[in-house]
């Protein structure tokens, strides 16, 4: 999250990358979106970075620069210097595809199902607002993100006017309980395309609310937006839980969690949800 907020959200880096680079993000440890052959190919091009790293190379495999860390300035310089070194005239216009063996190792969404973007944010309540440009500021203002997969039968239930219990439980199991903590259940009502609900969270059982909208067309879900707002407490998860990581102990703060239907043609929607790694069957039950 910190690198995303501090580096990838930097306006100059966004502009430069959009104009001059083909960008790719990989997870080399937790939910690997690489085949074994791709991992091997990347290993001398920055692919072995531990925790976090950035690099630039050509389609043919020539390394042009290595960076990383959590400061935009250094990575901007790395990108600019890599661009100066890049000789497009020396590069092939086509590349030989890497071996597609074990492509199945990268999990795919369920056939006929849906992909939801998941994001959450602490809405305030820190004792002291952090200074812009600091790690604390990135955490206080940053989004936590993930994906959620919806099975085909669950999508069909939504079209038929039912909010399936299995989908509610998946949301609860992998996201609501993480973000709001100690949530036993969400009381959900779904009628005429409107989703509403309530829940309790945290050590004090504070009340929270849900509001969402579902639209369908020709038997398909064309919109699914669901927002939950409640109180969250500190979560220690090696930095994975964004602003919740720095909530003062013993305090609850306002938090929002948002699910939104992704366009399956969008490459960003193709990253697997965190909890699918090595437990896809369990994840989809």
């Amino acid at each position: 999250m910190y690198a995303r907020e501090a580096v990838l959200n930097d306006p100059e880096i966004v502009k430069l990358v959009r104009q001059h680079f083909v960008a790719i993000a990989v997870d080399n440890t937790n939910n690997i979106n690489l085949t074994p052959v791709e991992r091997e190919w990347l290993s001398d091009k920055g692919g072995k970075a531990c925790t976090q790293g950035m690099s630039v190379f050509t389609a043919g495999g020539k390394l042009l620069g290595v960076g990383g860390g959590f400061k935009a300035e250094g990575n901007l310089q790395m990108l600019q210097q890599a661009l100066k070194k890049f000789r497009p005239e020396d590069e092939p216009t086509e590349v030989t595809a890497l071996n597609e063996k074990d492509r199945d190792a990268v999990a795919q969404p369920p056939e006929g199902g849906l992909v939801l973007y998941v994001s959450w944010k602490v809405l305030g309540g820190y004792d002291t607002p952090a200074k812009p440009g600091t790690e604390a500021h990135a955490y206080q203002n940053g989004l936590g993100i993930d994906r959620l997969w919806v099975r085909k039968d669950e999508a069909e239930a939504l079209v038929e006017g039912r909010f399936p219990d299995s989908l509610k439980k998946r949301m609860l199991r992998y996201h609501v309980s993480d973000v709001f903590q100690k949530v036993k259940d969400i009381d959900i009502a779904y009628h005429d395309g409107r989703v509403s609900g309530s829940f309790r969270s945290g050590s004090k059982g504070e009340a929270g609310s849900a509001l969402g909208f579902v639209e369908t067309k020709d038997g398909k879900v064309t919109r699914l937006d669901l927002l939950l707002k409640g109180r969250g407490e500190r979560v220690k998860s090696h930095g994975f839980m964004a602003g919740l990581e720095i909530v003062p102990d013993g305090k609850s703060v306002p938090v929002a969690l948002f699910f939104s239907l992704a366009d399956p043609k969008d490459d960003l929607s193709r990253l697997p949800p965190h909890r699918t790694w090595r437990q896809l069957e369990t994840y989809l039950r």
């Binding site: 990838l8 990989v26 939910n31 791709e38 970075a49 994906r147 009381d187």
Partner: protein
């Protein structure tokens, strides 16, 4: 000091009062609490815009999530590849 019967009655009464106030973690949310915490459509629109992944500056970059696809596009468009590696995908759960 107090008779067990009185202690039990006191405990039950306390639980009942706390329950009525909606203070127990597993109690259903009361109508008053629903009213106090309800989300309006305006709240929804504001927060949805703030939280939507596609509204984040980094999401305006046309990220690839496959090395093989990135190489093909980079060769065709004559651009270098910018790789971000993370424990946990920087565009996913991290």
């Amino acid at each position: 000091m107090f008779h067990p019967k009185w202690r039990a009655m006191f405990a039950l009464t306390t639980l009942g009062v706390v329950g009525l106030l909606g203070g127990l973690p597993n109690n259903p949310v009361t109508a008053q609490e629903k009213q106090d915490t309800s989300l309006s459509v305006a709240d929804f629109k504001k927060l949805a815009k703030e939280l939507h992944v596609k509204n984040q500056p980094w999401a305006t970059v046309p990220w690839k999530v496959s090395v093989s696809e990135a190489r093909q596009v980079a060769a065709k468009e004559k651009k270098p590849i910018f790789l971000v590696v993370n424990t946990g995908n920087c565009l996913g759960f991290v």
